[in-house]
């Protein structure tokens, strides 16, 4: 925290600030995943978690291993995968809607018994 305050106004954002944002994003995602009832909102929560992870990759690469690119590339990969995953998830959600006329996650318990 001291470093954050020390660098305040110097124009350079410290690593901890990035990580703080990503932490908040990730747990917002977790919270959303656990509490939202709509499948679409849960999907949004998942995206939020993925993006928080992306930020972590980029930040660690930028601050800990400058001059290398693995973290950046991994973030790009994740973005691509996330896009695919969203497409698939939405397709599934549409099918669920066709079957049970609802996208509420609480009603998806037909496989229980």
């Amino acid at each position: 925290m001291g470093e954050l305050i020390a660098n305040f106004g110097t124009g350079q954002v410290p690593m901890v600030a990035y990580l703080g944002v990503s932490l908040i994003m990730f747990f917002s995602g977790v919270y959303g995943f656990l509490t939202r009832k709509s499948l679409l909102m849960i999907l949004v929560a998942v995206e939020l978690m993925l993006n928080a992870v992306d930020i972590n990759f980029v930040v660690f690469n930028r601050f800990l291993f400058p001059g290398q690119f693995e973290g950046f590339f991994f973030a790009l990969f994740t973005i691509a995968i996330a896009a695919c995953e969203t497409a698939v998830a939405i397709a599934i959600i549409i099918n669920i809607y066709r079957n049970i006329n609802s996208v509420q996650v609480g009603e998806l318990d037909e496989m229980k018994e």
Partner: protein, 636 residues
């Protein structure tokens, strides 16, 4: 003499074939098939007997011959179960007896059972019975005998219960099976004890005269008797069960619920003498090792003979009279074995027993088949429904009369010779036994003629339709058996008999005193019976019955032995043993098992709630688990 295997194989194949085809075959076809097979093995048996008695004699002694032998199961060096065929004088004689009577019954049944439901099944069971009985008599070792012994029991059960829609027949078959099976338990224990100490099952080794198998165990005793005595006594109990010796005789009278030809085959001529055969087979063991058991056999025999003869005097169901007469006559054979010595003249009892077995099989089968013919004509077993039948059924009348004379011991019919030998053996053993047996022989003559007059003489009962003589297929066996009954005594008397304890020929010497006494006693009994029953009005018989009211009532109720059994089983065993065991079974064993099931079910219902189907709950649990594991890793 390898072909003797066919004697066993053919009836077995016949059973399998008839049993599998069942109603796919026409009734007459399966009947004829079974009868033809039986005819074949009868001829084979006669041929075996001829060949055996003409070729197997060495130094005047008939050798034990084993034409077939194989090891079936081997457990240890000593413990192995073999199967084989043993031919010696008694087994060859039994082959002849069994196949002859069985063939007669097969022929007779073609007509007697005509049109019965399950005719094919009946013939299949007859084949099974014949197979098991033949296997029993040719067994080379006591375990093989036990196997066939049980098979005989099963086929007897099946045939008694042939009319399985009739509750009394079902009850009778169960009773017969349970009582004999109970006795067989002792038989098995006896076999195991005997073979444990002698290290062999084999008859040839057990009965060898120079056998030193028993020397090793002469010291072993249990409760004051040697173990071998226990073993032979147990084996005798098994034999007593099948041969209906007191107190295990209760099943035989009820077994008359079966079809009459079956009674003739199984419950008169063959299966019930299995016990006698068993004692005869092990005779050297009984005689040399455990003479006290052999004397026990004799006394049980005497008591059974008297007991059954008294009951037979008051029964009114003709088949029951014959059943009690059978018990009494088998007891005669047992007594003869019990009082017998070994070798030569000493062995009269043994010879007489086997001789009586042969003649009895023939005339008792004849009596039963005659009774069947009567029942066929009047459709009733009760003596009260008969009377005066001699006019309608001349062949049955004459054959029945000859059989009655034979069993009563009137010369020259077969029963006279065999019974006379038994009586003289008894007199040599002890005068008391001799006198008692002579008295019983008199009773035999009395009740047989009571039966005869009851059926064929006396007042004519009103019949719905006039009784008629039975068809040819039923008369021919009657005539054949009558012929055998007439000559079966004379021929061994003239020629000598090879069926003795040591295998040497034996020439029968008629003991004139004994013979005269027994003939006189029998004649007096017949005369008394004639006076009492010939007219059939029953005035004097009723007077006698009222004079000896207590005895008459007790004998009519078979001395309440069945009631005693019922009391013991129902009141004592069921209440004091079975009920607690049942309670234990239900409340402890079953309850434990139910408990396991209930706890498992309860647990599964409870744990089922974890699997809610709610994705978010799973995710929450997953998150929680991750956090806990992270905390653990960080803190430790």
């Amino acid at each position: 003499m390898q072909y003797t295997l066919l004697i066993l194989a053919l009836p077995l194949l016949s059973f399998i074939f008839l049993g599998l085809m069942d109603s796919k075959l026409k009734a007459q076809v399966s009947g004829l098939f079974g009868t033809c097979i039986l005819g074949t093995i009868t001829i084979l048996s006669y041929f075996t007997a001829f060949q055996y008695f003409t070729t197997q004699k060495i130094d005047g002694v008939y050798q034990k011959l084993i034409p077939m032998h194989m090891e079936w199961v081997r457990f240890t060096e000593y413990l192995h179960i073999d199967l084989g065929i043993l031919l010696d004088p008694i087994s060859v004689m039994m082959l002849v007896v069994i196949t002859t009577v069985s063939l007669m019954v097969h022929v007779y049944s073609l007509s007697y059972m005509h049109g019965e439901k399950g005719f094919q099944r009946y013939y299949a069971f007859l084949s099974l019975f014949t197979f098991s009985m033949l296997g029993l008599v040719v067994a080379t070792n006591i375990f093989q005998m036990y196997i066939f012994w049980e098979l005989v029991g099963v086929s007897s059960f099946l045939l008694i219960g042939f009319y399985y829609t009739k509750p009394s027949a079902v009850a009778a078959s169960k009773k017969a099976f349970i009582v004999t099976r109970f006795a067989d338990l002792f038989f098995l224990i006896g076999i195991l004890v005997l073979s444990f100490y002698t290290k062999t099952f084999d008859f040839k080794e057990l009965t060898a005269e120079d056998s030193n198998l028993f020397a090793a165990c002469s010291g072993a005793t249990f409760m004051g008797f040697s173990v071998i005595s226990w073993a032979t006594a147990m084996i005798f109990i098994g034999g007593a069960g099948k041969s209906a010796m007191f107190p295990l005789q209760i099943w035989l009278p009820d077994a008359m619920e079966g079809p009459t030809p079956v009674s003739a085959l199984i419950h008169a001529a063959t299966m019930v003498v299995a016990g006698v055969f068993l004692v005869a087979r092990l005779f050297p063991v009984y005689y040399f090792q455990t003479p006290e058991v052999l004397h026990g056999v004799a006394y049980i025999g005497v008591f059974t003979a008297l007991f059954a003869a008294v009951i037979a005097c008051v029964q009114t169901d003709i088949k029951r009279v014959l059943a009690f007469s059978t018990i009494s006559q088998i007891a005669f054979m047992m007594v003869a074995l019990g009082v017998s010595g070994y070798e030569g003249h000493e062995g009269t009892g043994y010879m007489a027993s086997m001789f009586h077995l042969f003649t009895h099989a023939m005339f008792k089968a004849l009596l039963f088949l005659g009774a069947g013919s009567v029942i066929h004509a009047v459709h009733s077993n009760e003596m009260g429904h008969m009377g005066g039948l001699r006019k309608y059924m001349p062949i049955t009348n004459w054959t029945f009369l000859i059989a009655c004379l034979a069993i009563a011991g009137i010369p020259p019919f077969s029963g006279f010779f065999s019974k006379d030998e038994i009586l003289s053996a008894c007199f040599e053993f002890s005068p008391f036994v001799g006198v008692t047996m002579t008295f019983i022989a008199g009773l035999t003559a009395f009740y047989m003629f009571r039966l005869y007059y009851g059926i064929f003489w006396g007042k004519e009962h009103k019949h719905e339709h006039t009784p008629h003589e039975s068809p040819l297929l039923m008369s021919v066996p009657l005539l054949f058996l009558t012929a055998v009954t007439v000559v079966a005594g004379i021929i061994p008397f003239m020629m000598g008999t090879p069926i003795t304890s040591d295998g040497a020929d034996y020439h029968i010497h008629l003991n004139v005193v004994v013979a005269t006494i027994s003939v006189v006693v029998a004649s007096i009994s017949i005369i008394i019976s004639t006076i009492l029953y010939k007219k059939g009005d029953g005035v004097m018989a009723d007077k006698l019955a009222t004079t000896f009211k207590g005895l008459h009532k007790a004998a009519s109720n078979r001395f309440y032995i069945d009631e005693v059994y019922l009391f013991i089983t129902k009141k004592i065993i069921f209440n004091n043993v079975s009920r607690p065991i049942a309670w234990f079974d239900r409340h402890v064993i079953d309850a434990t098992m139910d408990g396991f099931a209930n706890v498992t079910q309860w647990f599964s219902f409870k744990s089922k709630d974890f699997q809610s189907g709610q994705v978010q709950q799973y995710a929450f649990a997953f998150l929680l688990g991750t956090l806990i594991m992270t905390a653990i890793v960080m803190l430790l």
